[in-house]
């Protein structure tokens, strides 16, 4: 968590935080509702991740820009009103001007409102950091969220349906049809993985895997620190 208003954390720390240390899904375990709902395929995860990232960047920047005028007592209702208003605005504007995209992303936009990660970042980061740092935090957190969703959706899709990135052309356009592939024969797929229990299972295994890797990294860092201490003596 960031400390001072003036100094602020550096770029590398923010990016590292968003992608790994404090990954929205695997580290902070926020936004579980959209995570469970859309990760039945990698394409859905990607769409949800990208839409959430845009909202995170804009809401973080907006909240950082008014942070000095909002009293602590009313900050939560202010943030909620701003985020809900923003999501609704995005929804309206996409529907009017980018209707083709809206037809694809429409189902995700409604789900962003229930993603507490957006409010979480507003509260934990944007309310005490500069606009630029907050926008970067939104980008990093959004990327980390997207990454986690795509990995989770990919695992569930491969095991559950045997495909990967099915229907990607609907989300990304015909150029990305090459992403669509069949990994396992249809008969070998386990529907269980696409259903909600498969979501919980995948999420649990991913969280465990991240912790395992994290422990390994820390152990190695501690080991090298002690060797260098010995060498210094």
């Amino acid at each position: 968590m960031s400390d001072s208003k003036d100094k602020g954390p550096d770029t590398r720390a923010i990016v590292r935080d968003g992608l790994w240390d404090n990954n929205v899904v695997l580290g902070q375990m926020l936004g579980m509702c959209p995570v469970m709902a859309v990760t039945s395929s990698a394409t859905n995860g990607l769409g949800m991740g990208l839409a959430t990232m845009v909202v995170l960047i804009v809401s973080n920047a907006m909240i950082a820009s008014i942070r000095n005028w909002v009293s602590d007592t009313v900050r939560i209702p202010v943030f909620i009103a701003l985020i809900a208003g923003l999501v609704t605005l995005v929804d309206i504007c996409l529907n009017a001007w980018l209707h083709e995209l809206y037809k694809v992303l429409g189902i995700y936009i409604a789900l962003i409102v229930v993603n507490c990660a957006v409010l979480g970042r507003a509260e934990a980061f944007a309310s005490r950091n500069t606009v630029a740092a907050s926008a970067l935090d939104g980008t990093a957190m959004g990327l980390g969220f997207t990454l986690a969703l795509v990995v989770m959706g990919g695992i569930r899709e491969i095991l559950g349906a045997g495909t990967l990135f099915a229907n990607a052309h609907i989300l990304l356009g015909a150029h990305f049809a090459f992403l669509e592939m069949r990994v396992l024969p249809e008969a070998a797929s386990t529907l269980f993985m696409i259903l909600p229990p498969g979501g919980f299972l995948t999420l649990g295994l991913l969280i465990a895997a991240r912790r395992r890797i994290q422990d390994g990294l820390e152990a190695r860092a501690a080991a090298s620190a002690s060797t260098s201490a010995v060498l210094a003596n």
């Binding site: 039945s40 859905n44 009103a81 605005l89 309206i92 409604a110």
Partner: protein, 218 residues
Amino acid sequence: MSTHAERLNAVWYQGVSLGIIVVGITIALAAAYTSTREEVAAAVESDTRQTLEQVLPPGYADNNLLKDSLELTDAEGQAVTVYRARKSGTVRAVLFEQRGKGYSGVIKLIMAVDAEGVVQGVRVTTHTETPGLGDKIEAAKNDWIHSFEGKSLVAPGEKAWAVKKDGGVFDQFAGATITPRAVVATVKRGLEFFANHRAQLLDNPATSAGKAKEPSHE
């Protein structure tokens, strides 16, 4: 900066600042809504036209469907806009929207029924079914929606209008039965609506080109 901090803690400031932000957001939303209403309506109309074209085989009709519509009331008292597809002036098929209740909300679909009461095509226009499970009712994601084509209440018969799990002829999806069940029931209700209003719907001279109502989209 102590005055700034003091002011932030004043109750009046908290109330006023929250009020200003909420009013500002409300104004922004109202402005966005009013300024995009026409674009949204136009987009929805072009969607309707595209969908109407999809549910009919190519070259099936030679009239402008959006200009040849009439309003009827269905069994539940809801208004239904019916578009008529004509070839050389004769009504060959009627197209209309039906709504059903899916797993997680309303499913809207447009269906085309020919003069004999046979389904020519069905397309789901909006739904909020589970991505990856229930969304196979979209033509872009699965061929399932084409299984209605060529079916009527006579063939395969009224009892067969159900998913296989319920003893009918339509496939359910692995992991999702409620969604296809809802779509089958909705299409069936559409056919019943057609049967109840058949004479009125096929009555050729009822809407002369000049009297034809502008289609309304809600």
